[in-house]
């Protein structure tokens, strides 16, 4: 159907236009639009862009922002690679307990972040089940260091890549792989040159979703992070601290900085996706 210009009157005999559109717009405004507008207004008009920059442009804030984004990137890159592998294993291989594992992948979606937070800390603390051996064998501390943050964010972002890539793998026409083989390509070459490019857009989408989720993650991270300013203090925590000090303007400034960086990152990823889709065509 052709998209028509916007009208308030019901455009067709299909019932429910007024009610559904009305509810949608009203609740969207109350819950999403107006609060976001208030935030931006408070930041840009109430406080001022220059003032916000001044708040953000300090070592502690930069450290926190860098940490949040760096850790999110590292974790999401890990999830990108591991997620593709896991999706492949779940779709193509058969082994005992596969169904269980497949269901378990959704655990980070279903499990409350605070539960994940204390659980991971318990395991990776210096005296924990895994933290102790890692400390002895590798001399690494996991909990209360940036490494711990990486692990927490890997946990949080795990399902995103797997779940976006799985359906694509399921739809792959085996004949393309067979064709590659008949042309003399080794299995590895087939996988890297034929299969992976088909998965790339979905994987990238999953990566973007994992990144968006990890950057703002709070509950899973603050238990394992140690929260030392300039070292293991994530940006959301800094916002909370400002709020506890009643420094609303400071909190708003950092929040807007986070949103701006996230927005830019996601825009870049979207552009990459559009470019890659154009190059390879709709697969």
């Amino acid at each position: 159907m052709v998209a028509r210009p916007f009208t308030l009157r019901n455009p067709t005999p299909m019932p429910g236009w007024g009610l559904s559109f009305g509810i949608m717009v009203t609740i969207l405004s109350i819950i999403v639009l107006i609060p976001m507008a208030v935030l931006l207004w408070r930041g840009f008009i109430g406080f001022g862009a220059a003032e916000m920059w001044e708040v953000v442009n300090r070592p502690r804030v930069w450290s926190a922002l860098e940490l949040s984004f760096r850790a999110a990137l590292v974790a999401s890159l890990f999830n990108l690679v591991f997620g593709v592998i896991l999706a492949w294993v779940l779709v193509r291989y058969r082994f005992p307990g596969k169904r269980l594992i497949d269901a378990a992948v959704d655990l980070p979606f279903a499990l409350p972040t605070a539960v994940a937070g204390i659980a991971l800390t318990a395991i990776y603390a210096p005296n924990g089940v895994l933290g102790a051996p890692i400390g002895e064998v590798f001399g690494l501390r996991v909990a209360y260091t940036e490494l711990g943050i990486w692990i927490a964010l890997i946990f949080v972002g795990l399902p995103f890549v797997v779940r976006t890539v799985q359906p694509v793998i399921e739809e792959i026409d085996r004949e393309t792989e067979e064709a590659s083989a008949t042309l003399g390509a080794s299995r590895l070459r087939t996988l890297t040159h034929v299969v992976l490019p088909m998965l790339a857009p979905a994987a990238l989408t999953g990566f973007a979703l994992a990144l968006a989720r990890s950057v703002g993650e709070y509950g899973s991270v603050i238990f394992i992070a140690g929260n030392l300013p300039n070292v293991t203090e994530i940006a959301p925590l800094l916002i909370v601290i400002r709020l506890e000090e009643f420094d609303y303007d400071g909190a708003v400034a950092i929040a807007i900085a986070m949103l701006a960086i996230s927005f830019t990152l996601l825009l870049a990823i979207n552009l990459i996706q559009i470019w890659s889709r154009r190059r390879m065509g709709a697969v």
């Binding site: 052709v2 998209a3 028509r4 067709t12 005999p13």
Partner: protein
């Protein structure tokens, strides 16, 4: 019931799907709206059924202005191209749907509804499939169920959108005859949309050839064949 279409036009945004068209359909005729895709035939059918609002013009049923009637009030039995059977209801429930949807005052009792549904299943020659679900039926069977469902509401007219489209040749022939039989039995004014001229010529009493939102010619099948009025009709109709 006779149908008068007076200067009906329809625009979607800036595209004109129907330039003002006028047509008279005498009561009880079996009419084919024939044309290639984009000719506006489905749009016209949907306007008759109340599924689209015309941008201009009127529709008259038996002389009274029906343009303001809602879909529900029109009692136009509509058979969709995809049949649109209710996938989660049995065949029986599908056919009974329109009767059950009536307000209490005019709603028949449950035994009466059952009786009517059974009669309709006999009419479409599928007496035993009442308990099956649409996904368990073949294409031809679904088409007939869709027809029975539309007939159940005792419609004033029957509207069919490419009723034989997605079926193989043998099934189509059987269904064509079935439609003709039903039309002759019920005497309902019937309008169907098709791009297949053999179908139109074989079935219809009156053929309306359309192209690009305009009516090119209206007439009996032999007339259209032997005396094409416009270049389009000449080219489109291969004898």
């Amino acid at each position: 019931m006779n149908i008068e279409i007076e200067e009906i036009a329809k625009e979607f945004g800036t595209t004109a799907a129907l330039h003002p068209v006028s047509l008279t359909i005498p009561s009880g005729t079996l009419v084919a709206l024939l044309g290639p895709s984009g000719s506006g035939k489905t749009t016209l059918l949907r306007i008759l059924g109340g599924l689209e609002f015309p941008s201009a013009g009127r529709v008259l049923f038996d002389g009274s202005d029906a343009t303001g009637l809602t879909v529900q009030e029109r009692r136009a039995g509509f058979v969709f191209q995809s049949y649109a059977l209710f996938r989660h209801m049995t065949v029986f429930d599908n056919i009974a749907y329109g009767l059950r949807a009536r307000p209490r005052k005019t709603r028949p009792s449950a035994p009466e509804i059952a009786r009517r549904v059974t009669k309709l299943l006999d009419l479409i020659k599928l007496p035993d499939i009442g308990a099956r679900y649409p996904s368990q039926l073949s294409g031809g069977q679904r088409q007939r169920v869709a027809l029975a469902r539309a007939l159940a509401i005792e419609p004033r007219m029957l509207l069919l959108d490419e009723p034989f489209g997605a079926l193989d040749a043998k099934v189509r022939r059987e269904l064509r005859q079935g439609l003709r039989d039903i039309h002759d039995t019920t005497g309902l004014t019937t309008v169907f949309v098709t791009h297949d001229q053999d179908e139109a010529m074989e079935l219809a009493d009156l053929v309306v050839v359309m192209s690009m939102g305009r009516i090119e010619q209206v007439g009996k099948p032999e007339e259209i064949r032997s005396r094409p009025k416009t270049p389009f009709v000449r080219e489109f109709i291969t004898a």
